[in-house]
């Protein structure tokens, strides 16, 4: 497992970056470390057991990667292409995703809770047992994806399409939905209410 060490900066609630004592927000040579991590991510096929929380990545291709047990909490992803990647048992909570592509990705047992997604696509993906609770999503497409047992509880979704999706056990309880399209999906097998 990645380290759970907290940033040593007083009052900071983020995880410390890699083996450092502080998160990237509070490390002095932050830009250099981000450049190094970007290169490392681009050149590695497999990213495993790493703590890359608070990283900021811009305009890079992370296609066909295997990302396992990696912590990207409180990070920022702009114009990142994750297409064809497998993201398993990882943490992306409280992150920001802007113009990101997740075409044909496999996402399992991964936590995106509290993240903000804007203009992102997840078409033809296998997104199983993943946690999108409390996300704020605008202009998103999950078309042709399997969302079995994934949760969008307490999320805010605007202009989002779930066309031709498997929504069995997908939990959208307490979500706020504006212009959300479930066309041709088994939305009757999704959960919108609690019988209590």
């Amino acid at each position: 497992m990645y380290s759970h060490k907290k940033c040593s900066e007083k009052g900071c609630l983020y995880f410390a970056y890699k083996d450092y004592d502080k998160c990237l927000e509070h490390i002095e040579n932050r830009d250099k470390l981000i450049k190094e991590a970007t290169l490392e991510l681009k050149n590695s096929d497999i990213v495993r057991n790493s703590n890359l929380s608070t990283i900021q990545l811009d305009s890079i291709e992370l296609k066909d990667k295997i990302i396992v047990v990696t912590n990207f909490s409180n990070s920022k992803f702009t114009n990142i292409d994750f297409s064809g990647s497998s993201i398993i048992f990882s943490l992306f909570q409280y992150s920001t995703f802007l113009n990101c592509k997740f075409n044909k990705t496999i996402i399992k047992y991964t936590v995106f809770a509290g993240s903000t997604f804007t203009n992102c696509d997840f078409p033809d993906s296998n997104i199983v047992n993943s946690n999108f609770n409390g996300i704020k999503g605008e202009n998103l497409s999950f078309n042709d994806s399997d969302l079995y047992y994934s949760t969008f509880i307490s999320s805010t979704l605007k202009n989002v399409t779930f066309v031709e999706c498997n929504l069995k056990k997908t939990d959208l309880y307490n979500s706020e939905r504006t212009n959300v399209n479930f066309k041709y999906s088994n939305y009757e097998e999704a959960l919108f209410n609690r019988n209590r």
Binding site: M1, V111, Y149, I153, D171
Partner: protein, 187 residues
């Protein structure tokens, strides 16, 4: 410390495997099913199962126990005296266990069932059906649900935000995400 997850089609539940980085004596939590994938996970990481922790005595979380015991000489720990007809070490109160050098905090959470327990190992919380991502365990009795809601809310508010939540069904979560987005808590 390493933790692996295995999805079981029996009851659509999650089983967990926890053991040291270098392999050796390990713990299985809620063996819903012992399928080939799970067995490979154990063997390929050089683990030997010595301990089985049960969060509660429901089939979706225990159906793999008999098969597991045919392969490994393991002890069961739960709030019941028998699980699937096999004797279990009874843990009924909040307590601390040390199994093969792994410290485990045991927490009693009656609600979803009378025998529900939560186990904390390092920064990982194995919650069974008591707490899942954005939800709490079901019970037909509304009063019991309200009491569970209060109990979980009271206990989770003092927990470290970075603790990972590994439930018996559905996706993982974190204590912070549950505090922020679980509509069943703090109401």
């Amino acid at each position: 410390m390493r933790c692996f997850i295995n999805f079981s089609l029996t009851g659509f539940s999650n089983s967990y495997l926890v053991g040291p980085n270098e392999g050796g004596e390990a713990i299985v939590i809620d063996p819903g099913e012992l399928n080939v994938k799970f067995l490979n996970l154990i063997e390929n990481n050089n683990f030997y199962i010595k301990h089985i922790l049960v969060t509660h005595n429901h089939r979706a979380h225990i159906s793999g126990i008999r098969t597991l015991l045919k392969i490994y000489d393991a002890e069961i720990y739960s709030a019941s005296d028998k699980i699937m007809g096999v004797p279990s070490n009874i843990i009924t109160k909040d307590s601390q266990l040390n199994l093969s050098g792994i410290e485990i905090k045991v927490m009693e959470f009656p609600g979803h069932s009378n025998d529900s327990l939560i186990y904390q190992i390092h920064k990982m919380l194995f919650t069974g059906d008591t707490l899942s991502a954005g939800n709490l365990g079901d019970n037909d009795n509304l009063e019991t649900v309200l009491s569970l809601r209060k109990l979980v809310s009271n206990r989770i508010k003092n927990m470290d935000d970075s603790i990972l939540v590994f439930p018996g069904h559905g996706p993982p979560s974190t204590v912070k995400a549950e505090k922020d987005f679980n509509p069943e808590l703090f109401v």
